[in-house]
Amino acid sequence: MAIYNVFSHPVLHQYKTHVFSKATVIQVLTILLTFILPLIIVYRSDGLWIREIRYREQPKITFKKELIFLLHLSTNQSYVTYSTFQNYNNLQQQFLRIPLIKAFEEDITGNGLSDGLQLNLEIPLFDSEQVVGVEMLLFFTYKLQKFSSLFMDCMAYIQHSFAVAGAKLQIFGNLQIRQKNLLLNKGTNRKYDVPIVDSSSIFSDAYDLSQILEQYTQRNVTTELVAPYYTWIVGRGAGRPFIISASIKYPEDEFVISVPVKVGLGSICVCLGAVHHHF
């Protein structure tokens, strides 16, 4: 005869004990170990909380079409200079030398963000003038979008000198961020969205390089020209200008930000879920 299951029901066992008993001790120890041991393990491993996270983003960098340059000449510590600031040019009367400026920002990847700047300066010089050094400031605007909106003005400082008079200086480098503290994870930061050089000033100290650099380095977020390679082409022909050719890339960069609340919330949810399931 075939046997079949007529009815089934679970059996509930209940174990009862006094408060002062070995079972209670074991129960208390188990509960304690359930909560404290993971806490200790977590704390000893790498700290309890994640305080900062890294992410990558390609910033939106735009050349402001503003620059200052100065060429050191070998004769009598003379120089020629130019800037896109009228007040500075007014200060440098007899040393002013007007260049031909070509700038081209290309979006290679087609994501709407420029990937680099190709800047070409042709500075006309007399044949008797021999360039032995170059100092140049290029000004950019910088924009971040992914976590917090960061708007700032930034710059690249180019400085190169050579013992032999040159005809052309080529610069190859990347404009990258240098942050001193964490960026925000949300909101908007416009603290440094002010021009680095006060072009409305007619005073000379507004264009003093040491002051510009000092104020710039005091900021929490700056950019710098990373790994600049210079080629110094010698041999300037008769009537030829001195050429500064800068190829500056705007690469994707890494940023450190404070942990957004939602990430913390997410991990707490996971922990709670695990605990919930455990019991």
Binding site: T84, N89, Q94, P99, K102, F104, F126, G166, G235
Partner: protein
């Protein structure tokens, strides 16, 4: 679980029966190549050769063991895969669903999955290992039954009373005057055999055989006491009959009968023990010249009771000895100069090589080395001392506390060091020298990089080849008998601006180069860089005049092609020589002349402030770059083609779209007066768009003009020096400024593409200009209303120059005398905005087309501030003329070109959150696109990466499904 075990059983059954079938068909010792070399297989073979039933059972077990191993490994892999997918899905969950309440179910599901896995997994393992051990036990029992089987070994017949003795020389090519021969017995145990040995020098192998035959061992056994050094009489008689040898000089010089023996055995009577024995042979005399000798050695064994010597009782050996006269023989040792080599000791970790550290040379006795096995006892006797030393390569430095002076026989204050360390020093592996070429080459190929100067010019130069883009161009002299091909070269700059005189010219690549040379008389020679014969000449010019000049070869057939080369000569070398001008020189020459603000009468201004001049107005501002000197006088025009003004082909800036960095094309439209239809576009140099190319002085009158290049934003300016008088006449100055800026950007048409037909009006777009007639009614005429062009301009003239100024400026212009030296609304610059877009693709390259252009003036107010005794920045008094009271103030004229790409980027579909202002919107705020991040292709992602991602997702889904299915089954 039940299904699983049924499956496994069925599988093992099938496999084992297959295996058994194959085994019974042909009994092969290794059945399958994959069959594991396991001790069990021995048992299996034994069993299978014996009983079919046992074989089947054991095979079943055997295969089951391996099968369960396979299952174990499989389950481990599955577990790893499942954990991986679990963690990935967990991270997915954290990223995506932490806000939704329904996601907790998902989490619970994942956790329960892992729970099940972890709970069940040890059980599997336990189960498997238990069954495994059970099977192993069974097999072992079966093996116990089969203990009679022994594996076959080397069969050695062992007969106790047969002894095999062999006589072997230490070397068959002896090069010294002593050598050794070994007597090696086999099968000798316990008893000794007495041996007697003889030797002689023979001429050839036949003589050696005769010598061996002459020795009668049975007879010699009785004459053992005859003497050590003498040979039997019958033996010497046999050698006497041999003819005199040319090889052995000693033999020919010595008499035959009383000839002393050359080679003697040191120990002719010896006792052969089980360990073997050796005989030492020694030549009596040194050699004076190269000698080749054959030494025959034979040994007789005496009859010993109980031992049966195999074959015969006579042992023979013949050794070739070659000796040179340069052998240095010194009493007890000899050194052959070409035979000294270091002792190879092998790996010191495995071999005790340091038993004689002073044994430095192989096969020869080292002086004072008592442990050298090559030294005979007589050598050792005459050693002055034995070299002391540790049995190692290097001494251990003694620790300082080991220094004491307790020894009474030493001087008390001396340091006595004792050594009791087992440390033998540091050893290194010996490295054998490389003696053949193959070893050398294999050693060489392991080192990849070495300093070398690869000659790439030879590898690149092939005799017959087709020209490709960028390949070198060959040239040759046609009329000589053996033409040597030569690369077409031009002086070019390399490394950091240094000029390479003979740099090759690449095919199909346009370039220009400039070089700097010191002016020397050598530059005027035939071979100088300025000589046209160093490069290539036009075919027309070469043929009658200059037959020995180089000309270009076409690639494959090596034919001479028709060539046109243009050489430009200058009689005015001033522009090519460095001048010593300074700023004040230039200013003193040209400042006065730059104060002429007149406009040619033929030029008329239109409503947009643009001056139109006829073509015959000589261009005062000559473009510097395009200004080549005339062709050389020796190039008498034969080469000049009939069409084209300069003999140069019309360049294009890309086809069809523009190439970034190439010049844009512009011009003025020439229309039919009656039909007002556009005939063609005048692209003369004077009608094209330019920007200033500033000169070192910065003066506008000296500034050149630079063509506008596509895609590159341009900015340049020049300065004019104005006196107060000039600024008092604002009207004239303004006209002059309009004229100057008009001449800089005179075009009204801009080419849309890189190659535009002058006659195709569709290739050109109109340059929009603002109507400024209401600002400057006294200068600019009011447009006629019937002109359609003008109305278009009216519409487009959304003037960003401040309109509120307009009425005031006209008033101010009318009453310009209210302030001396102030001019308002002066045109100080011209801005050209060019819009371009990517309008299609040609073979994957976007077509960059100019779709719009606008030229506009920039206005500014000029005030003369350089009055007497006031030094403001932009003031200057002519320093070359101190008496002059004239003061100049510097004003700047700018020219700007701005390229705008429209649309700025690919437009995305607008969704609601994107409508937030940009500052308040962040990508990570609330982006629904993040949810499907893994599935959808991201804009910055390339296709290959995307396919990888999709593949990973599929693998994850598959493994999750599979593992879930397996767990459900279990």
């Amino acid at each position: 679980m039940i299904v699983f075990s049924i499956l496994s059983h069925y599988l093992s059954l099938t496999l084992s029966s297959l295996f058994y079938l194959s085994l019974s068909l042909k009994s092969i010792s290794p059945p399958f190549p994959w069959f594991p070399s396991h001790p069990l297989s021995h048992y299996l073979f034994f069993l299978c050769s014996d009983s079919i039933g046992l074989c089947y059972i054991s095979l079943l077990f055997f295969l089951k063991i391996y099968y369960s191993f396979f299952l174990l490994v499989l389950s481990i892999f599955l577990g790893i895969f499942f954990l991986l997918s679990l963690s990935l899905s967990l991270s997915l969950y954290i990223n995506l669903f932490f806000f939704s309440s329904g996601s907790l179910n998902f989490l619970t599901f994942s956790l329960s999955l892992s729970h099940n896995l972890f709970l069940h997994f040890p059980l599997w393992y336990l189960n498997l290992s238990l069954s495994l051990s059970r099977y192993t036990l069974l097999i072992k029992n079966l093996g116990g039954n089969a203990s009679a089987y022994s594996l076959p070994g080397n069969p050695g017949l062992f007969v106790p009373n047969v002894v095999n003795v062999s006589l072997i020389a230490s070397s068959l090519q002896v090069k010294s005057i002593t050598f050794e021969a070994f007597l090696i017995p086999r099968g000798l145990s316990g008893q000794d055999i007495h041996m007697q040995c003889f030797s002689d020098t023979v001429q050839n192998q036949q003589a050696a055989t005769a010598f061996f035959d002459s020795i009668n061992c049975l007879k010699k056994n009785t004459t053992t006491n005859l003497g050590n050094q003498t040979t039997p009489a019958n033996f010497s008689s046999t050698t006497q009959t041999t003819p005199a040898s040319s090889l052995s000089t000693t033999q020919t010089t010595t008499p035959a009968i009383s000839r002393p023996k050359l080679w003697l055995i040191n120990n002719p009577n010896l006792t052969l023990t089980a360990e073997g024995a050796s005989i030492q042979l020694r030549r009596q005399f040194d050699v004076k010249e190269p000698t080749l000798e054959l030494v025959a050695v034979t040994c007789c064994a005496s009859l010993t009771p109980g031992i049966q010597v195999l074959r015969k009782r006579k042992l023979t050996l013949s050794v070739i000895v070659s000796l040179g006269p340069f052998i240095y023989h010194n009493d007890s040792q000899f050194i052959s100069t070409d035979e000294i080599r270091p002792t190879l000791i092998g790996n010191p970790a495995k071999k005790n090589f340091a038993n004689c550290p002073c044994d430095m040379t192989w096969n020869s006795c080292d002086i004072n080395c008592c442990c050298d096995m090559d030294c005979s006892p007589s050598d050792v006797d005459i050693f002055s001392k034995c070299i002391p030393g540790y049995q190692g390569a290097q001494q251990l430095p003694p620790p300082p506390w080991m220094c004491d002076s307790t020894s009474p026989e030493q001087i008390p204050f001396m340091c006595v060091r004792t050594k009791d360390s087992a440390y033998l020093g540091l050893f290194r592996h010996d490295r054998s020298t490389i003696s053949n070429l193959i070893t050398f080459k294999t050693e060489l190929t392991q080192k990849r990089y070495s300093f070398s100067q690869a000659d790439s010019s030879n590898s690149g130069r092939t005799e017959n080849f087709n020209y490709k883009y960028g390949s070198q161009i060959q040239s040759s002299i046609p009329n000589i008998i053996y033409p040597v091909p030569r690369l077409l070269t031009l002086p070019q700059r390399t490394f950091s601006g240094q000029c390479a005189t003979t740099a090759p010219v690449p095919f199909l690549i346009n370039f220009n180069s400039d070089c700097i040379y010191q002016m020397t008389p050598d530059l005027c020679s035939d071979n100088s860089i300025l000589s046209a014969t160093s490069f290539a000449l036009s075919t027309a010019l070469r043929n009658p005049h200059c037959p020995h000049a180089y000309t270009i070869l076409n690639g494959l057939e090596q034919q001479f092609v028709k060539t046109e080369v243009f050489y430009h000569c200058t009689s005015n070398s001033k522009t090519y020589l460095k001048s010593l001008d300074t700023l004040s020189d230039v200013l003193s020459q040209s400042l006065e002349s730059s104060q002429n603000f007149t406009i040619p009468d033929v030029c008329i201004i239109d409503s947009s402030g643009l001056y139109h001049c006829p073509n015959n107005v000589e261009e005062s501002l000559s473009a510097m770059d395009e200004d080549l000197p005339p062709l050389c006088p020796w190039d008498d025009g034969y080469t000049r083609p009939s069409d084209g003004s300069d003999g140069l082909q019309k360049k294009i800036s890309g086809n069809p779209g523009y190439i970034i960095g190439d010049p844009i094309w512009s011009g003025t439209a020439v229309t039919n007066e009656t039909t007002e239809k556009q005939l063609y576009v005048n692209q003369h140099e004077s009608q094209q768009m330019h920007v200033w190319e500033p000169s070192p002085s910065g003066l506008c009158s000296l500034a050149g003009k630079k063509k506008i290049t596509f895609g590159e934003d341009l900015f340049s300016s020049c300065v004019i020096f104005l006196t107060q008088d000039s600024l008092n006449d604002c009207q004239n100055l303004r006209k002059w400024l309009f004229y100057q800026l008009s001449r800089l950007m005179p075009s009204d048409r801009i080419g849309r593409y890189g190659n535009n037909g002058a006659q195709r009006s569709s290739d050109w777009i109109k340059v929009l200009r603002e109507n400024i007639s209401d600002q400057f009614p006294d200068i600019v005429p009011v447009p006629e209303f019937n002109s359609t062009n003008m109305t278009m301009e009216n519409i487009s003239s959304t003037i960003d120059v401040s309109l509120p100024w307009t009425t005031e400026s006209t008033v101010a212009n009318n009453k310009r005398n209210f302030s001396q030296g102030t001019c308002i609304q002066m045109p100080t610059g011209v801005v050209l905005d060019i819009m371009y877009a990517n309008t299609g693709l040609v073979q994957g390259t976007p077509i960059k087309e100019i779709i719009g252009a606008k030229a506009s003036y920039v206005f500014d107010n000029w005030t003369f501030t350089c009055i007497q005794n006031v030094m403001v920045g932009s003031c200057m008094s002519p320093s070359w003329n101190i008496n002059s009271t004239e003061r100049y103030q510097l004003f700047t004229l700018t020219s700007v070109v701005h390229f705008i790409r429209v649309p700025g980027r690919r437009s995305k579909p607008v969704i609601r959150y994107n409508e937030l202002p940009v500052e308040n919107r962040h990508t990570f705020d609330f982006d629904f696109g993040d949810i499907f991040y893994l599935i959808f292709r991201q804009p910055e992602e390339d296709f290959e990466l995307y396919m990888n991602k999709i593949g990973v997702i599929l693998v994850i889904i598959f493994t999750a499904l599979l593992s879930g299915f397996i767990i459900l089954m279990l």
